[in-house]
Symmetry: C2
Subunit: 465 residues, 2 copies
């Protein structure tokens, strides 16, 4: 029997114990947004430190200006295996509206929600205490059986993820030598479906811009001035309309610089997932894909950049009517970026695009709202290949490599502050009701998730591709 | 000496008396929007009735659900002269902010604002008590000297013009037989400049439409849905941008049906007025005419139709940024109409234009906000020719025929309810500060305005063109 096979057996045999440990952690109401629960956040951090120490980690509670971090270290058995940083968060969302919970949010239990489908109930069961304990349990089993871990592991558990992570960047900056590893494992994501594990290999970047166009020095009567006077709503509408061509492509010069075509075998694997316009758009009342012609909806969201208009306002917007020509109009515009698109270049190209379309007697002000490049793990990276094989060995269906249309800030922070890529693997399901009443985590996710992490640790620790 | 020459002399000799009468009317604080001043509105109406009775009119205060009307009748000396309805309003705007007045608003007086330029000060001096008393004084002089009026005159003074004229339409409808005349004289307008009287021969009509585009059934996260999901702000911007071509013309099919080219001699007279893009747009901080290419700014405002976007809103419009794709976006759109453009056809053509550009999975709702055709007095009508000559005889510079970019509701109401065209002549000046503190009316306007109405009455009463 291999080291791994023994660990998997052990995890099967200790599932009840691991559930009890998760329940103990779930009973701590570590709500980070509510100052009344600050002591509970610290209790959760201490509980994790104690648990990690009990399995041989060098672990400590680290104070921040907000809620503390948990940092833990364990050496690997071999020096040629990688050093991994595992990230999760122990804080949870508030529980309002409390009256909608079928059981008390901090009294976890097991419920059978349909024949044969058992779930762990309670706030944090999925987001993120259940997910992070999977990895701890995998380490515990390895240590219990073999007395070591297959590779060097650093753990970072945050206590402010649900309240905007105000202490995270300074903490990474201040402890980069301690936290830097070969790569990060981030556990805050979903499975594709209950039988199909997924690895997220790409996250879109974002550039936000607010533009305000000023025409006349005051609001005008549309009778007295309609015709000769420039109307900033008209100018703005024209500029925004110019940003897409009839095929849904963005027309800003240089916008597609750094965008790569997704490998055909990846596109085929996405095609095989069965997501189409009907089932992607149907639930939100739509049916006609609005993105670039000739691309599937999954490619549009996971691997293509966009220009979106997130807000627009100008003139009279109250009830009834006012025959006014506004002095100003403004819009919030954002760009989702992929691959190697450069946020600074996109921002500059957009501003140039706007200025070129501005009448000579009008002016524009730009206000930047954040900019971050996309994250893209190479589709043929050994990290991805090994993790995908490990997951495929565990679950009924092979693992899929997916993307995320949005950003996950921690992944960008790891890249920025620690110069480190992340592997995103999680076992949550879309119906886990995270942030809502009656949060749950499938018992299958909890069980097979532990086994999955054991497999991934084993795979990543092997040399070669 | 002609009848007219004697009247003009008499007006010169009785200017002091006519000023005293205006002051008496200006001392009555007939603020129609403030219920506390309801009795004062009635006092102003009674004062006018008494004054009109004193010069031989059959005059009475007529109750309405709001402030009363004044209606007065006087026969003409000849049966072949026309019957004219003179319209003005005795109510005034509130006086706030009172602290900005240099003299009490209801204590009228004379002030020399620059060497040789005397003005009558006080609320209502220009809008509209000063303007309406000109006509009464012209009638008074005629009666005093000749014992008759040159034509049949009906007078209608309203007391709710500054508060939206809620009683006007029902009153016109109920008294149309009594009020119907050959045409109306409306005195609520400006001179072109202090030496140039003007007649307004055209008023633009208006069609207002509010459109709301619905795409997704709820607001979406722009990361999760950006690309495939239709964005109603983008759809709306595209539709609005399509409404004008690069030459500033409206592209809606059939939009220009009923629009006539303005006669070249009229365009030349406008050209001669010295209004250009620089002095028209300069005061509002603009310099580049935004209307149809190849048209002067005065033609754009007085004789060309427009499409204007009066308001737009959609998505997140608060401070900061939200990466949302809105479910809805809306705009308030209006069209200024000229000549024989049909409001109903324009509205229908616009709706069709929008629907044709709507993606198949989106919907649009239309909310109408009023519709009225343009007013256009024929440039060669005898009415206009006679009045222009009469004014040109009085003032240093010849009268000009102008247009108004906006609508004056009473003119449309006279057409709708009484089947009657209006001649718009007034002697206010753009610097009269109507609706503002320190309202004034030039003494020259008051003096030469009386003489002007005497001349117009005389001219209109003569047979032939």
């Amino acid at each position: 029997m291999t080291e791994l096979a023994a660990v998997l057996d052990h995890l099967d045999n200790t599932l009840e114990d691991s559930l009890e440990r998760l329940f103990a952690l779930l009973r701590i109401p570590s709500i980070s947004t509510d100052p009344d629960y600050a002591a509970e956040c610290r209790n959760a951090a201490r509980w994790l430190v104690d648990d990690l120490v009990s399995i041989g980690f060098e672990a400590s509670v680290r104070d921040t200006p907000g809620h503390p971090m948990v940092v833990a270290h364990h050496p690997g058995v071999r020096t040629d295996s990688p050093h991994v940083l595992f990230y999760g968060h122990y804080d949870v969302q508030p529980v309002d509206p409390i009256e909608l919970w079928e059981a008390a949010p901090f009294a976890p239990g097991i419920r059978e929600i349909e024949p044969g489908r058992k779930v762990i109930t309670g706030r944090g069961s999925s987001d993120d205490k259940g997910q992070l304990m999977l990895f701890v349990e995998a380490c515990r089993a390895w240590k219990a059986l073999h007395g070591h871990l297959p590779c060097r592991v650093t753990i970072l558990f945050e206590g402010e993820e649900e309240s905007g992570s105000p202490s995270l960047k300074p903490f990474l900056e201040a402890h980069k030598d301690e936290l830097k590893a070969d790569f990060a494992l981030v556990c805050d994501t979903d499975m594709f479906d209950p039988e199909t594990p997924s690895i997220c290999a790409s996250l879109r970047g974002l550039v936000g811009e607010e533009i305000t166009i000023t025409a006349a020095s005051r609001d005008l009567h549309s009778g007295m001035y309609g015709g000769p006077a420039a109307n900033p709503v008209r100018i703005l509408a024209k500029i925004l309309a110019d940003i897409h061509d009839d095929d849904g492509r963005v027309t800003i010069p240089g916008f597609y610089d750094g965008v790569e075509e997704t490998p055909s075998q990846v596109l085929q694997s996405w095609q095989a997932m069965g997501t189409d316009a009907a089932n992607f758009l149907g639930p939100i009342g739509l049916s006609v894909p609005a993105g670039e012609k000739g691309r599937s909806v999954l490619e549009m969201v996971w691997a293509r950049p966009t220009a979106e208009f997130n807000g627009i306002s100008g003139g009279y917007t109250g009830k009834g009517f006012k025959t006014v020509i506004a002095g100003q109009a403004s819009a919030k515009v954002s760009f989702r970026l992929v691959h190697r698109q450069d946020p600074d270049k996109i921002r500059a190209a957009f501003r140039q695009f706007v200025r070129e379309r501005l009448p000579a007697d009008c002016s524009v002000e730009f206000q930047p709202h954040g900019g971050s490049p996309a994250i893209q793990l190479s589709y043929d990276s050994p990290l991805l290949t090994k993790a995908r094989q490990a997951l495929s060995d565990e679950w009924p269906k092979p693992a899929v490599t997916v993307g995320s249309g949005g950003s996950i800030p921690i992944v960008g922070d790891f890249r920025t502050y620690l110069g480190m890529e992340s592997l995103l693997v999680g076992f949550a399901l879309p119906d886990d009701r995270i942030h809502s009443p009656n949060e749950k985590y499938d018992l299958t996710s909890f069980h097979k998730g532990q086994r999955s992490w054991a497999r991934i640790l084993d795979a990543l620790s092997r040399r070669g591709t």
